[in-house]
Symmetry: C2
Subunit: 178 residues, 2 copies
DNA sequence: ACGGGCATGTAAGATGTTACATGATTTC
DNA sequence: GAAATCATGTAACATCTTACATGCCCGT
């Protein structure tokens, strides 16, 4: 009955689909192409997956659709955002991601939308995100239990430096792109 | 009929389970505890998942089991590696990972096994891995199509530096731990 | 008499993927 | 006449996760 865990794979596609319609109504085939143009380097979704996602989104009330008849071409099913859908997207896009591994795809997708849709609040998002990662670094630094295990020290070292690398990149991004 | 795509979530657990038995036969409950002790900081698997994985592995002929009766305790199902299972583990553990995102969990798990089981070849694995990532950097550097899009430049910058960070860490690891 | 440890699974449910179905039009 | 583009989906399959089932022993 409840979605609970949206699954790592399907999670962003919902929001990518919603986000693409922020510029106006569109139909599956076109969305698939726009997705490839604007997010192709970040995210590859099969065409069919997108259609499935769109149906789901309509069932959930985040989208609504009308059929647009065409001559000499198959009819189009044109979707547009509902208020609920717009809201869901805006909440998502302003929300920092909870983990380092979500940066590569999900956070970058969010930043992409800030850029493409010229949304405000990118700086705030980046700053929130940095604070979250700084807090992780602080907590990992406190873990003293692994002092006897050299392997664990290296793992924590990896994580801490990974987080630092991402924070640095976010700083660079903020300076250049906002 | 064929496994094809093992799925990102289940993939390492198979090999973790096999690897844990390299030290000798063991049963599900114990494996669950060892897994938590040795890999807890890297990987959390529910107890049930492990049992399911063990059954699957036995069906595939990578493990075999005997029941060990106990007094005043439930019987144990003691698994041991078959030749095929041992082989599958050794192949996996020496195989570099294909992507940056697989480093955090999968590559580190492999390195953990080199450490715990005192296997030879860690240096070779690290060097192969570095070559793979260096090749990625080279390819990303060649992508000139995104020169007009400042966002894409930043994304490629992110990837390249991400790969560099990981290569650096691998160097450090190799110097300290091998 | 109850919580925790020991020990193992099954079966159902949720989720994700993709092969296939359809069919007209335009371009080579 | 073959291939690509336009346009959409269904239904089956594969995979993953977890709620639940079972049951004894030990300590407090």
């Amino acid at each position: 009955m409840t979605p609970k865990k949206p699954g790592f794979g399907a999670y962003p596609l919902r929001y990518l689909a919603l986000g693409l319609m922020m510029k106006g109504p569109s139909h599956g085939y076109q969305l698939d192409q726009t997705l490839d143009e604007d997010f192709g380097m970040i995210w590859k979704a099969g065409q069919t997956k997108l259609y499935v996602t769109l149906s789901t989104l309509e069932e959930e009330g985040l989208l609504r659709s009308e059929i647009e008849p065409q001559e000499n071409r198959p009819d189009r099913k044109v979707y547009h955002l509902t208020a609920k859908g717009k809201n869901a997207f805006l909440n998502w896009v302003h929300e920092p991601v909870p983990s380092l591994r979500a940066v590569r795809v999900e956070l970058i997708a969010k930043l992409r939308f800030f850029y493409l849709l010229q949304l405000t609040g990118a700086s705030e998002l980046i700053q929130q995100q940095e604070r979250i990662f700084q807090e992780m670094i602080r907590e990992w630094g406190l873990e003293k239990e692994h002092e006897d295990d050299p392997f664990l020290r290296l793992v924590y070292d990896f994580r801490i430096n990974h987080a630092r690398f991402i924070i640095d990149w976010l700083d660079t991004y903020q300076n250049i792109a906002t």
